[in-house]
């Protein structure tokens, strides 16, 4: 905690106990908890009044993934909500981790974004050091350590899918740091609906097209049954050959079309009066500075 301050020289006469606590406090990097008490007090004050604290943007969400014969298929919807309002209609929930690993994120939008960013940076450093693509277990372990360290305060539920030298993998990481390695998976507020479809039609070693259709159907049922999911469907297909990030795989049937153009054309506002006031300036002083070009 940063508590060292500038002190005038004469005031060293404070008893040394107090001065020591001033002197030794080197500001620590990382999270700073100074404002927590203040925030709690503010929330108590505001709840009774008219204003409410702004709600963080959550990716309500349906995300799903499954392992097929040639690789891994990940799918997600594209709606981000902030309280009861749709904050983003075209939110990208499938994040890039490394050339062979992608991650879908549900929960608080900022948390999933930042966590996957950090993970991606760490794995990039690793790839540069070792010269190879990272393995999915590495990504999962790094995530698990990070999320467990913060005891669930980072609200990110993630589905990691990737192809590496050991095969095709699909993992889920919960906000408290729990992991699970499964062939098919759904997370988010719409996961129950999506899981129903997946449970019904999943078979091991499916063909690519069939797998894409199944994921699309799972996300679609999540969109239909859950208020926090909606708009378009994104699909990401990861194979040994490469990654196909199809965004959007399917657009929503309920796209709104603007009836008119809302831009104002020139001449919309009529000019009523015009008054010109000339500004008279007189030269007070003139100085010439020679430039030395020698």
């Amino acid at each position: 905690m940063t508590k060292s301050t500038r002190q005038p020289r004469t005031k060293i006469l404070i008893n040394s106990g107090m001065a020591l606590s001033n002197v030794l406090e080197i500001p620590t990097s990382g999270f700073n908890f100074e404002n927590v008490a203040r925030n709690v007090a503010l929330e108590g004050l505001l709840e009774g009044g008219q204003t409410k604290t702004p709600k963080p943007m959550k990716t309500g969400t349906t995300i799903a993934g499954l392992v097929c014969k040639e690789g891994v298929v990940l799918g997600a919807d594209t709606r981000a909500t902030s309280g009861e309002v749709v904050a983003d209609k075209m939110c990208a929930k499938i994040h890039y981790i490394s050339p062979n690993i992608y991650c879908c994120g549900a929960g608080t939008a900022a948390d999933t974004e930042k966590t996957t960013d950090l993970l991606s940076s760490n794995l990039t450093i690793f790839s540069m050091n070792s010269g190879r693509n990272p393995r999915v277990v590495m990504a999962v372990n790094i995530l698990q350590d990070m999320l467990f360290r913060y005891r669930g305060q980072i609200g990110a539920s993630l589905i990691l899918g990737g192809v590496d030298c050991n095969g095709n993998h699909l993992y889920t990481v919960g906000p408290y740091g729990s992991i699970d390695n499964v062939p098919y998976l759904a997370m988010g507020s719409g996961d129950l609906a999506a899981l129903g479809i997946l449970e019904d039609r999943f078979k091991p070693n499916m063909e690519m097209e069939e797998a894409k259709e199944l994921v699309r159907d799972a996300i679609h049922s999540g969109i239909m049954s859950d208020l926090g999911s909606g708009n378009n469907i994104d699909i990401c297909v990861i194979t040994k050959q490469g990654v196909d990030y199809i965004r959007p795989y399917q657009e929503s049937e309920y796209k709104d079309k603007r009836q008119k153009r809302y831009k104002y054309g020139p001449g919309t506002t009529s000019i009523l009066t015009e008054k010109i006031v000339p500004l008279e300036l007189e030269v007070v002083q003139e100085t010439v500075q020679r430039m030395d070009t020698a």
Binding site: T5, K11, M18, T28, S29, G30, F31, F33, L118
Partner: protein, 142 residues
């Protein structure tokens, strides 16, 4: 050189009651920066993670060293801690920001990025310790 100037490196973790009064200048509560004082604020951490984050690096080190001792014997953590202690002495004057490059390389922090590198960078800190007092403290004259 007076060894009192080199404080013990592996201090014990900060206990719960070690939150301490928030003193500002003149030794009194700094109301502008930390709000009104209350006994509860000083005794208990205000956030669930506050204590665990304060002690995190320390506890990790303790755990790793004790693991290492159990696996490889006493010499392993002893050697490592000696190297850490040596690397920790490579720094600028106490009130200036040092890069801790050697220490970071030894600990492996140069190959990973976490919230410590992004948030609350000490190099961007707006407050500075009083140079004379800090140097006197470091040299053990206080």
């Amino acid at each position: 050189m007076n060894t009192r100037g080199l404080r013990s490196q592996l201090k014990d973790s900060v206990p719960v009651t070690g939150m301490g009064p928030q003193v500002g200048a003149y030794g009194v509560q700094d109301t502008l920066r930390s709000g009104f004082s209350s006994v509860k604020n000083e005794l208990l951490p205000s956030h669930a993670l506050e204590l665990s984050e304060k002690n995190f690096q320390l506890n990790q080190d303790k755990m790793n060293f004790s693991n290492l001792r159990n696996i490889q014997g006493l010499h392993a953590p002893l050697k490592l801690q000696m190297e850490y202690r040596a690397a920790r002495q490579i720094q600028r004057l106490p009130f200036l920001q040092s890069s801790h490059l050697a220490l970071d390389t030894l600990k492996g922090n140069d190959e990973s990025i976490s919230f410590e590198d992004i948030l609350n960078d000490p190099a961007q800190s707006e407050m500075m310790g009083e140079p004379h007092i800090m140097v006197e403290y470091k040299l053990g004259m206080m």
